[in-house]
């Protein structure tokens, strides 16, 4: 039994009716009077200089109201993602984009934008813009782009002793003496893996609607995950005060998965720029193809892991190197290699470790944040090498991991402690669910369909510190009618935070969820918050809301104490009723509800929050709780187990079952947490088996629609057993830790290990498509 009224319960989502009836409003649904529609002209070349651009004919087309190119666009350098505004003081911001530049750096890069009275007119106008390009040499592979002969993407930027086109600081994590650790090892396994470009493919494409009023104040409805930082980025692009800009979700956002931590592609600044020119509202909705080729992807990477162990399986040394392909712009290219290294190094107790990682510019669509943020790439390499080590040592991979996993309080490379871990219990329950004891006994000799079992473990963060600026604020205002209003700057990108954050507020206040309203995802009326990413919304924004609610509660009880004639600490609020702690409630005359003045006279010993709030209101007082917090950080944990069946005649890999056991601290809403685990598993399955964007030699993306980018459908899904193993983390609200991303850290690694177990072949490259598997097994 939960000791709580609201926390820990699978309460139905507050946005459920809106979203199941079609009433829920998304950015793409917004229509304003006089609104114009924007379309963007995009580069057909991966690298070129715009020699000339002529918009004369397009301007003459009836219905065209504004055109923006590099000639009349803003000239302030920026970073389209939150590092523009959230880079920690120890690091230098990478600012490498203009809204429109005279150089285009990938197929799909912005050349011009048109606002017109309809999408059709805007589209027609694009065809009338004459552009002359001078083709520049292009490079698409990260290792190629580091070579001395490689073309430079951003002039001299990124020319380092380590190679060309390295936009940001190289992340080096030293931990004791890795050379000594390797020398002391009995067995060493080293392997390099090549990881593909994955796409978020959130269901609502990048979109924004911008409106400028007569005073130059701007409202932007947006699909962003981070309204407050996005407004700051827009302010810097256009050189106007951020306080003149309001960014909001309207209130719903059709998914994120990291693709809009900062701007939504460039939808907001393009819509805003055109709205400033046309003096009319402008709506820009990316087509699915634009979303694919012109908004951030997951980073492709080369990751090398060298692991040393004693004969008994004790890990001695881990040396890891990662090179990330960040594409045309850096966005998160500075921070992501650090998360990859730190999260991979944090899984096991290894006395000697070293990590070296960085990004490289290429002429591909820019890569940025996607759920897991560099961690799945590192995990795929690490967890496969652990399995290879187990094989070399003749040990069960489960036992080898059990021997080496991090324990609470163990020293590690991170600047915050390993506060809690139930990974061992996750492994136990996951192994039981998948039937781990069957491993190695699944196939008859000569079988054409081979079964295998594999596992992987991993961890992640519960917010973005120390990788970027991370703090939260919240207000909780008790209204004169006794209801509470919570204001938090995070949006709900679909993860259910507009429900779970209210659960936290209700539990803290002692008031029902129905008596609490929430303003979120709107820079007007909410205090600054860095937004919804890094598995942080429930953990970090939840901590701020808990603090604000506790403050409001304290003020209520202090006000009440004078009338109850006892210390405020001896009062409590339960179900909206204030009374002495654990006392039996006396009834008052008439309605049974007591008035504060009666309580003061000794009649009755309870009042409703509504009575108290109104009593205070008519005496010129309101209770406003403020939460201002800098969150700690804490590791969630995941043990993932997969059973696969590989058809050796076709190369088809079928996943029979996935068991995903998670330590998420306390699950504020278990049903929502299960949804996170299952969704992460599905994306992991896609990453392992089918999802990939490849480029041809002309630099064109070969996958840019749902038709040829192979997303898992309902018919592809195996049985998924989501297991929540609760711990009580001292740093999170009610013991919660992050839950959003860890679910995608391990599934692909577990599937890769299962395929190796089934076939005896280790794939150094994913996805394990039928073509790749067939070739490998038949050569």
């Amino acid at each position: 039994m939960s000791q709580f009224e609201y926390v820990g319960k699978s309460i139905g989502r507050r946005d459920g009716v809106d979203k199941t009836t079609g009433r829920g409003l998304f950015t793409t649904d917004i229509f304003l009077p006089g609104m114009l529609f924007a379309k963007v002209l995009r580069s057909p070349h991966p690298h070129a200089r715009i020699v000339s651009i002529d918009t004369t004919e397009a301007e003459k087309l009836p219905g065209v109201k504004a055109i923006m190119t590099h000639k009349n666009g803003p000239k302030n350098l920026f970073n389209a993602a939150v590092p523009m505004f959230l880079t920690i003081p120890q690091l230098e911001r990478v600012l490498d984009q203009y809204l429109f530049d005279e150089i285009v750096r990938h197929v799909g890069d912005e050349v011009a934008a048109v606002a017109a009275t309809s999408e059709a007119v805007a589209e027609k106008a694009l065809g009338l813009i004459k552009v002359e390009y001078e083709i520049l040499p292009a490079v698409f592979d990260a290792l190629e782009a580091m070579k001395p002969e490689a073309p430079e993407l951003h002039a001299g930027k990124g020319c380092t002793p380590e190679g060309k086109n390295i936009p940001a600081e190289i992340v080096k994590i030293p931990y004791n003496d890795v050379e000594k650790g390797l020398a002391e090892s009995d067995v060493i396994v080293e392997q390099t893996f090549e990881l593909p470009v994955q796409k978020q493919v959130q269901m609502e494409t990048q979109a924004a609607v911008a409106q400028v009023d007569g005073n130059g104040d701007v409202t932007v409805w947006s699909t962003t995950q981070t309204p407050h930082p996005s407004r700051a980025i827009l302010g810097q692009i256009f050189g106007i005060a951020a306080s003149k800009i309001r960014v909001l979700a309207p209130p719903y956002v059709g998914g994120g998965f990291g693709v809009r931590i900062g701007l939504s592609g460039k939808a907001e600044p393009i819509a805003m720029g055109l709205a400033l020119l046309a003096k009319r509202p402008v709506k820009l909705v990316y087509t699915r193809k634009e979303d694919f080729i012109a908004s951030d992807t997951r980073h492709a990477a080369y990751v090398t892991v060298k692991l040393g162990a004693k004969k008994d399986g004790t890990f001695q040394a881990l040396d890891m190197k990662a090179v990330f392909n960040t594409g045309a712009f850096c966005t998160f290219g500075a921070e992501l290699p650090g998360v990859c290294g730190a999260m991979t190094l944090a899984i096991y107790r290894i006395p000697h470790q070293r990590y070296f990682g960085h990004s490289v510019y290429t002429n591909r669509t820019s890569a940025g944040a996607m759920r897991g943020f560099g961690n799945p790439q590192g995990n795929l390499a690490m967890e496969q090498v652990v399995d290879m080590m187990a094989e070399k040592l003749g040990m069960d991979p489960l036992e080898l991991r059990r021997k080496n996993i991090m324990k609470a309080g163990d020293p590690w490379c991170l600047p915050y402690p390993c506060s809690t871990t139930e990974l061992s219990e996750c492994m136990r329950q996951g192994a039981e669910s998948i039937g781990w004891e069957r491993r190695g006994k699944l196939n008859e000799p000569g079988a054409v369909k081979l079964r295998g079992l594999g596992m992987a473990v991993g961890t992640h963060v519960s917010n973005a510190w120390p990788f970027c600026v991370d703090y939260d604020n919240a207000y909780v205002t008790i209204q004169p009618d006794g209801s509470a209003h919570v204001a938090s700057g995070v949006p709900d990108i679909g993860t259910g935070t507009s429900t779970s954050l209210v659960q936290i507020a209700a539990e803290t206040l002692g008031m029902s969820m129905d008596s609490i309203s929430l303003t979120y995802g709107d820079t007007l009326g909410t205090p600054f918050d860095i937004g919804s990413h890094a598995s942080r919304t429930c953990y970090a924004a939840g901590t701020a809301i808990k603090a604000a609610a506790a403050d409001a509660r304290k003020q209520l009880l202090e006000y009440a104490a004078g009338y109850f004639n006892i210390a405020p600490e001896r009062l409590e609020i339960k179900a909206g009723l204030i009374s002495p702690v654990a006392g039996s409630l006396d009834e008052c005359s008439g309605s049974g509800l007591c008035q504060l003045e009666e309580v003061k006279e000794g009649k009755g010993n309870s009042v409703t929050v509504a009575e108290l709030a109104y009593h205070a209101h008519v005496r010129n007082k309101q209770f406003i709780g403020v939460g201002r917090i800098v969150p700690e950080n804490a590791p969630p944990w995941h043990a993932c187990f997969a059973e696969v069946e590989v058809d050796t005649r076709t190369g088809q890999v079928r996943i029979v079952k996935l068991a995903a056991a998670h330590d998420v601290g306390r699950a504020i809403n278990p049903m929502i947490v299960e949804g996170q685990i299952e969704g992460g598993a599905a994306q992991g399955i896609g990453y392992a088996l089918s999802e990939e964007i490849t480029y041809n030699d002309k630099g064109r993306q070969q996958q840019y629609s749902m038709h040829n980018y192979m997303l898992p459908t309902a018919e592809d899904m195996p049985e998924i057993h989501s297991i929540i193993v609760e711990s009580h983390d001292p740093t999170g609200p009610f013991g919660a830790k992050g839950a959003g991303e860890c679910s995608l850290v391990c599934p692909a690694s577990a599937i890769a290990n299962a395929v190796a177990n089934a076939t005896g072949y280790r794939f150094k490259q994913i996805p394990m498509t039928p073509e790749r598997v067939f070739k490998a097994l038949n050569s």
Binding site: D15, V17, T20, T21, F26, M671, G679, M717
Partner: protein
């Protein structure tokens, strides 16, 4: 071909509207009738977010030329809720946690409803096939299948009781 005024039945009511030959039903629903519950996820019939029930069949509104709506019977997500409250599918989607970002939800419910309108005891495979053209990137489909099964159970129970859900 000039614009034509067509009439069709939409969520139980006969409507008349002028449409052009190049317009798709999705454009008419969203941009002319402001029924924005039907979502546009790709515009090419690949994601299912714009699924409506067209003469009893789940179809992608982005692939139906608006002119073809002439005389048709069309149901959109806005027509699913009855006077007595949410349809069992809508309630089950909420109760079972099948809703996350909500962008695929209307189309998902329409595909499931087209199935349950004809078959109140679908197998797991039939459910998966019915929503197989509806992409969801949030849920991994697990709770969506559970919600459809749950709604089917409720519909069977109310059919036994003689209800008219």
């Amino acid at each position: 071909m000039p614009n034509q005024i067509i009439s069709f039945r939409l969520n139980g009511e006969v409507v008349e509207i002028a449409v052009s030959p190049e317009e798709m039903l999705l454009d008419v629903l969203r941009e002319k009738m402001h029924l924005t519950g039907t979502k546009r996820g790709c515009g090419k019939g690949e994601c299912g977010a714009c699924t409506v029930i067209f003469n009893g069949k789940a179809m992608n509104a982005c692939l139906i030329p608006a002119m073809r709506a002439k005389g048709a019977d069309i149901q959109t997500i806005e027509g699913v809720e009855g006077p007595g409250g949410l349809h069992p599918l809508q309630q089950s989607f909420i109760d079972k946690g099948a809703v996350q970002c909500g962008f695929c939800t209307p189309g998902m419910i329409m595909s499931a409803k087209a199935l349950l309108d004809k078959n109140k005891s679908p197998s797991k495979e039939q459910i998966r096939e019915a929503v197989g053209g509806n992409i969801c990137r949030c849920t991994g489909y697990v709770k969506i299948e559970e919600a459809v099964e749950d709604a089917a159970r409720q519909l069977r129970a109310s059919a036994v009781k003689g209800g008219d859900l």
